[in-house]
Symmetry: C2
């Protein structure tokens, strides 16, 4: 039987990615939407998740596409009601709350899927397999995009808990934590805050892996023109380069892979599998690195940002 799904939060990410991916995925169907501001033709629509959960519309799972601030109560209510839960990235506004959700999901016997869509990019798993066979010298991440293009007028992203430039940066970290064969931790963090905003517009990070290997990351939201989502891994055997957010892979100078984006379709396929197997998938390590970046961050003021 198909999983009856409710989407909570019908904003930009839900419309750009989730609706089409659900439509294209077998084993799951959209039966309800909870959104303050929007409804969807042909689907039962509710004002919020409480209205949905107390309605006659039967659902098995919810997918939370709301901003991270305030998502805890929605997830908690769904899990308490025995629903499986899929969380957009980042999984929450704090680490303590996502740990609490994980414990609650385990207690209630439902699936919790903390998604990292960039991990579903085509080059990620091949790169992981390749790096397990190689000796890494260094890793350099460059994730630079134009916030005005990708987050037009999204005020929540500049508020505490909205992560600022770490909203895209956490995508890079979700890939790096997946492909690296050894753990790494932050040793220096420089954060660049517009004078009029509560979240950083750029970040410069230096990590160290066990063995002393350096991992660096440059995140910047002020890039106009071509956008950059690249991870360059220098290995003793030659360079491994993952570009275009994880969809293209070049190994030792030779292009290995150019794939179309199937990230969200892969996420829903994985969610259907997890529910079927009664498992959860909740790796919070990308958010741990982001929390570390704030904890260890040295703050620098830069010019005000206006949408």
């Amino acid at each position: 039987m198909s999983i009856r799904l409710g989407i909570v939060g019908l904003g930009k990410i839900a419309r750009d990615q989730h609706l089409g991916a659900i439509e294209a995925t077998g084993g799951i169907e959209l039966v309800a939407v909870a959104s303050r501001n929007a409804t969807l033709d042909g689907v039962a629509s509710f004002n919020d998740i409480q209205d949905l959960l107390s309605s006659d519309t039967e659902i098995d799972a919810v997918s939370l596409c709301t901003p991270p601030q305030g998502r805890f109560e929605q997830a908690r209510a769904a899990i308490e009601a025995g629903k499986h839960v899929m969380l957009e990235k980042p999984p929450g506004a704090t680490l303590s709350e996502v740990h609490a959700l994980e414990a609650l999901a385990k207690e209630k016997g439902v699936t919790l899927f903390a998604t990292w869509h960039s991990r579903e990019a085509a080059a990620v798993e091949p790169t992981r397999a390749l790096l397990a066979q190689r000796t890494i010298r260094s890793v350099a991440v460059e994730w630079k995009e134009d916030v005005r293009h990708w987050h037009p007028g999204q005020a929540w992203i500049w508020e505490p808990g909205g992560l600022g430039v770490f909203d895209p940066g956490i995508n890079a970290l979700s890939i790096v934590t997946r492909i690296m064969p050894v753990p790494f931790h932050l040793v220096r963090s420089d954060l660049f805050f517009p004078e009029n905003r509560a979240a950083p517009i750029a970040a410069s990070l230096v990590f160290e892996a066990v063995g002393g290997m350096a991992v660096t990351a440059e995140f910047d939201w002020r890039q106009t023109g071509p956008q950059t989502w690249d991870i360059r891994i220098d290995t003793e055997e030659g360079p491994v380069v993952v570009t275009h957010g994880g969809s293209r892979l070049t190994v030792d100078g030779e292009q290995r892979m150019v794939e179309e984006d199937r990230e969200y379709r892969n996420l829903y396929k994985h969610f259907v599998q997890l529910v079927g197997e009664g498992r959860s998938d909740a790796d919070f390590s990308p958010l741990v690195h982001v929390a570390d970046a704030f904890l260890l961050g040295r703050r620098h003021a830069v010019e005000p940002f206006e949408d």
Copy 2:
């Protein structure tokens, strides 16, 4: 046989607390010290942990009393060499590094003890037992002290990773995470940074526990005169008040406990037990809350601080 211990870092906390506590504890003896700036009469002295580990002085364990920044490499080297490790609080400068240490200690089969000395205060366990039987309405933490008195000239504490007012504040959080019967997570964080410092001098936190119960915490390093380390728990059955950093307990208006400070003696006693039983004790939840406080923190500038 007694555990042969090396102390790394012979600064204020080692001299004020560790040396006397080790002396007073059975089953463990100090045989070495590693410190850049100081030696100890009658004990083998080394410049750093690398010199100690490669020397003829045999040790079974190390106690790290250095500042949290840079402690990872010391702990890693000790664990790799098969030594048990005891960490002063906070256990590290980042969460990722302490997670890595935990995994490494497990792999190497040595004891890792991430200490929280305030949890050893006399009133903590009785309060935990009491609260398990009561219905909590709210919790209010007030932790206010004079940084000039407690951390004279300690520059590292104002640097990124030094935590600022969370250095004492994490003591309060280590108690609250221990006595509370349910988990809680941050929903608002205001951080007050002196204009000339990279760490906060005060913080105002609002947490929510599952069920909606409020936990608030006020940390301030600008308090002269009487110092305040109080936790007030309002329960349906009456007030439970833990004061003096956890050494005094008042229940329903009646004083139950006034104890002398045995925190560090208890820590070393616990470490001897852990090593004897081949176990670790590494609960990082107080540091998770602090990382959350920076992640979710709204920054406010306050007047410069000069030592």
